[in-house]
Subunit: 651 residues, 2 copies
């Protein structure tokens, strides 16, 4: 590994996303989610569970009287919000929002203790108890989010009050934890601080933070197990005693370099893996990178839904075992898919292989944005691939699978996580490595960058993911020698790339088309990715999907909804050789391409009423057309059934 | 309804079951289960959770010091045991067993209070607290079992010590509960006492017990709700506040006559329905019988597994909703199927329709005896139709689905329930109504009865359920005019009935062939029920089974086991037009008919290792023969996968 060979994401303020698809969601986040979230942090949402977040900071700052309320990790609500605010201000200045944020930062900083400590749960409940339950009490998790929020707000505004307070806190933490004998050998129960510290390292250039991140990663799971000793000393309950995964719930059952299979709490897992990739990259640690690759392979080849969902079990919000991907009792938390994108992006920076970007795209266009309603006001934690409202109501195993998005959550991780992701979405699309610019994702807009010492503007016009064309025009003062690297999506089996209407030569390496040439002002690049409707099958080891197919077009996974197709979707069969048509419906679900295809539906028979089981029964079908909508857009009309994996007679 | 038109079961001591199938199980119960159970009641089984049952009785009787231990319903362990003992002594005298039982009865009776009360939980913990939590504390449930045990032991031995003690207790209870203003308007949280009181009524002829049973049934679910008021008064926790079924967990959400759908805890439900059928019959209550019929129809037409399993959800051990019959996350408790047999038998006594006996047979030959290992030492609570050992280990939703039977349970309901059923199995096969003798089930053996004032012996020779022939010869002193009524099983599509080698005329009413004639000594009846291998399909409303088939032969449901067919049973497809052969294997699994049939198996492909989802994928099959074994006999070899509903290309 050569550290200088890694690509770096383009800064957010050099990317102006303007297409209908992402820009719309960014604006939803800016106009709805961020303001709503602020109201939520201040417990002003009627009918929603209170957050208590700002109240806790005020109490900790002696600005009001009261007890700590809410979850132990409630501080992170503010951190996630300020991060989204920071990102949002990078592409849309907003004085009022900045003023609100500055006032919030004043409150938060007022709670900071002289030694730098800043966690309201222990400030309010007694500082003598801090660091007594790293396993479950989320101090380092909250700090991790705080770092990410402080860095983003600093980058978005140039204001360093929160950043400096955070650095003070981190510097204090650095005196507490480490491999030195006089320090605690602890690490967080919920990871995130590892990758957050790398962000801090990058903007401060202070290697102390890299070292601390590396320490947290290397110490994790080592024998004797810190969590076990801490638990004995402080009589902490071990919640997962009876579970299969035990300390692997926290990815702490063994040293991270010895972990081969994605296990335990899915969000924790991908946050850890992201930090591992960061540290591997920054320290040229090939062994650690190998561990990342193994975990990536296991997760994406054996434990990932077609939507990019991960963590199939509600119990522990966790991974279960290879190929166990139930569609109905699923968990597939929105945050876990977001964490998967974090991990994918870091792997992609290390090695430009399209498989990383493919997974990133899969999650972004499907299992993540399914987490937010089209009007940006309601959210899914759980992203099912099969929903029967009666089952959600009457079957305990599916009680967590909601047929409708909810307004807000007491444990508000998913909505703010979507907010911080979407408000920085552009930064996932592009990266730079020396004189190569990578396009990992295709979104319409303008990118300004510098290649071979020339300023260049890329104008990307596209109706991706609905349309097969991406047209890029270049704007520069003088001709420039650089390499354009375009991801050929995994789903695309036929593509053309033209420069100034001529097919060009290029090499394809690891799924990227590399076009190196001397580019001129006003050069046009036309990319065509053929986007037929595709019938997808699952690996036959996935029990739930044998004999079933899913429908995709481009990166978009489709589903059937009761609204379009009636109830009893389990009776639907896709035809053996189905004919599909598709069209863009601009007034439907915010503008989507829908698909229509022929199939069969099991007819009702008279005997159905009084017979459960029959011998030599003939099953009668009627021909029927079915309408498919993008999976992410489901549950935006009347509540009803939804289905992704549909039976087929073609086996 | 005309009360005199009902059929009555033959007494157990007039039936000598001798066939290999049932006699073997009866002997297992007698030789293994009953002695083992006694050791368990006395906490002498190493490695098993203690029962504390006899210890509690001794403490309550001041024979030793100590606290009450175990579940509140632990007394019923004794009651179920003594019931099985009573039945067993009817067909196999055993002085030692009787002596042990008498000694146990002495201990139990010594615990009885002067007023008749006899529940060790409250005797030990304070009589002032009795009757304060009818909803959950099982006093009336324990009494119900005690009545059933006392009646059986009295019938089996003629000894009335336990019966008299029980009557004293019931008489006391009768002063506490009833519709009169000065009585508590309570009823049991766990039903059984209703049907138990009818047994007591029948042997005592005291209408008081019938009246009390009727009261418990009629009061149930009436407004204002007793459980709610009791809960408020005594601050009892309501465990099902957040459930869908709420008080219907106890079948107490509304009056029983207004209940249309089987809901809540499945064992409680079928015990209640059995009591309802008893009371409807004994009081000529057509309205109540209609309620029974509705509940029967709902349960058997919409909520029953092909094995006769009911109660699909572990949560609440309960029914969920119509057609929700998951095979893998299933509950289908052994006891619930036993309760279903109780209910079926009572419905059958009221109306001789084969559908009742068909369900009884289905449950007996499949979902009930699957609960016990072939050596009578290990037991299933849960009877899955699909098992993957890794899932039981790593998927929390299937943690209750065990791939191996367990030795004993702390909450020991299923093993003793199997014991009391099997040791009285003969009584489910035959009933009498005036001069008609019904054969509901076919088991080899000798039945002695009296028809038209003549003593008649029926010698039944059969290798049912393996063989298609049942041969009956009659033994009587003088010719007798009576009617023989033979159930034509639902699964049988071709049958012949011959008397003395001549085809005879008979009418078939509601699935029974009625042969009325003057019978002579040594008359021979030959019954032939064609038993081809049948391919069964499910009602298409059962989501889990669309596109799948199950294999039956006669009343036996078959399954695939990993032991015979390798792992990954979800990759198996039954061929479109499968050819099946079957053979009796006397040395396999205690002697079973196995089935072999052709099918297809999804081959491994190289890309499986690194691809989860593929477009335009061709699935490759290999032809393979599969071996099917009777479902009940699964999990008697090496632990592994098991599957009942198998995919088919034929849809």
């Amino acid at each position: 590994m050569d550290k200088n060979k890694f690509s770096k994401p383009l800064p957010i303020d050099s990317i102006n996303v303007t297409d209908n698809f992402w820009r719309n969601m960014m604006e939803l986040v800016r106009n709805n989610v961020i303001p709503y979230q602020w109201e939520a942090l201040n417990d002003r949402i009627e009918g929603a569970e209170p957050s208590y977040c700002m109240q806790n900071f005020k109490i900790a700052a002696n600005m009001m009287e009261g007890e700590f309320k809410g979850f132990v990790f409630q501080d992170s609500d503010f951190a996630k919000w300020i991060e989204a605010v920071g990102f949002s201000l990078m592409w849309h200045k907003d004085e009022n929002l900045e003023k609100t944020a500055d006032e919030a930062i004043d409150i938060v900083c007022a709670a900071q203790q002289p030694d730098g400590y800043l966690d309201t749960y222990y400030i309010i409940n007694g500082l003598d108890k801090r660091w007594t339950n790293l396993k479950d009490n989320h101090e380092l998790y909250c700090l991790g989010h705080l770092i990410e929020g402080a860095v983003a707000y600093y980058q978005g505004t140039g204001k360093d009050k929160l950043l400096n307070a955070t650095i003070k806190y981190v510097d204090y933490v650095d005196t507490i934890f480490g491999s030195e004998e006089n320090k605690k050998h602890g690490y967080p129960g919920h990871e995130i601080i590892e990758m957050a510290l790398i962000k801090l390292y990058k903007i401060t250039d202070n290697e102390k933070y890299l070292k601390l991140a590396k320490y947290f990663i290397d110490e994790r799971g080592r024998s004797p197990l810190y969590f076990e000793e801490e638990g004995l000393k402080h009589e902490n309950k071990f919640w997962w005693e009876d579970s299969y995964f035990k300390y692997q719930y926290y990815q702490a059952g063994k040293p991270v370099r010895e972990q081969h299979v994605a296990e335990g709490h899915a969000v924790r897992a991908v946050y850890l893996y992201s930090g591992m990739a960061d540290v591997a990259k920054e320290t040229n640690d090939d062994e650690l990178l190998e561990a990342c690759k193994r975990l990536w392979d296991n997760m994406t080849r054996k434990q990932m839904y077609i939507t990019g969902g991960i963590g199939s079990s509600q119990y522990g919000e966790a991974f279960t075992y290879d190929y166990d991907l139930p569609n109905d009792t699923i968990y597939a938390e929105t945050c876990a898919s977001i964490g998967l994108v974090f991990f994918a992006r870091r792997m992609l920076e290390i090695t430009p292989k399209s498989e990383y970007a493919d997974v990133m795209e899969k999650a972004l266009y499907n299992g993540i944005i399914s987490g937010m309603s089209l009007d940006g006001t309601k959210f899914f934690y759980v992203n099912p691939l099969e929903v029967v409202p009666e089952a959600s109501l009457k079957d305990h195993l599916r009680a967590h699978v909601k047929p409708e998005r909810q307004k807000w959550f007491g444990c508000a991780c998913c909505p703010p996580n979507i907010a911080r992701l979407l408000s920085s979405i552009g930064s996932y699309a592009y990266s730079l490595k020396e004189n190569t610019i990578f396009m990992h994702l295709y979104m319409g807009g303008e990118i300004s960058t510098n290649l071979s010492n020339n300023d260049i503007i890329f104008n990307v016009e596209t109706e991706y993911p609905w349309n097969e064309s991406i047209n890029i025009s270049l704007n520069m003062k003088e001709e420039t020698n650089f390499e354009l690297s375009l991801r050929i999506p995994e789903w695309c089996r036929k593509h053309t790339i033209k420069v100034n209407n001529q097919e060009v030569e290029y090499k394809v390496v690891d799924g990227y088309a590399y076009i190196a040439r001397i580019w001129e002002n006003d050069d046009k690049i036309n990319i065509y990715f053929e986007m037929p409707v595709e019938i997808m099958t699952s690996n036959p080891n996935v029990r739930e999907n044998v004999g079933k197919v899913a429908i995709m077009r481009g990166p978009i996974v489709y589903c059937l909804e009761e609204e379009d197709n009636g109830a009893d979707l389990h009776r639907v069969y896709v035809s053996n050789n189905p004919e599909f048509t598709y069209k863009y419906e601009k007034d439907l679900l915010g503008g989507v391409v829908t698909i229509e295809g022929n199939g069969k539906f099991i007819k009702n028979q008279e005997c159905d009423e009084y017979k459960l089981y029959k011998s030599k029964a003939e099953i009668k079908f009627e021909d029927k057309k079915f309408k498919w909508i993008p999976y992410y857009s489901w549950a935006n009309r009347n509540p009803g059934e939804m289905l992704v994996w549909v039976k087929t007679a073609q086996i």
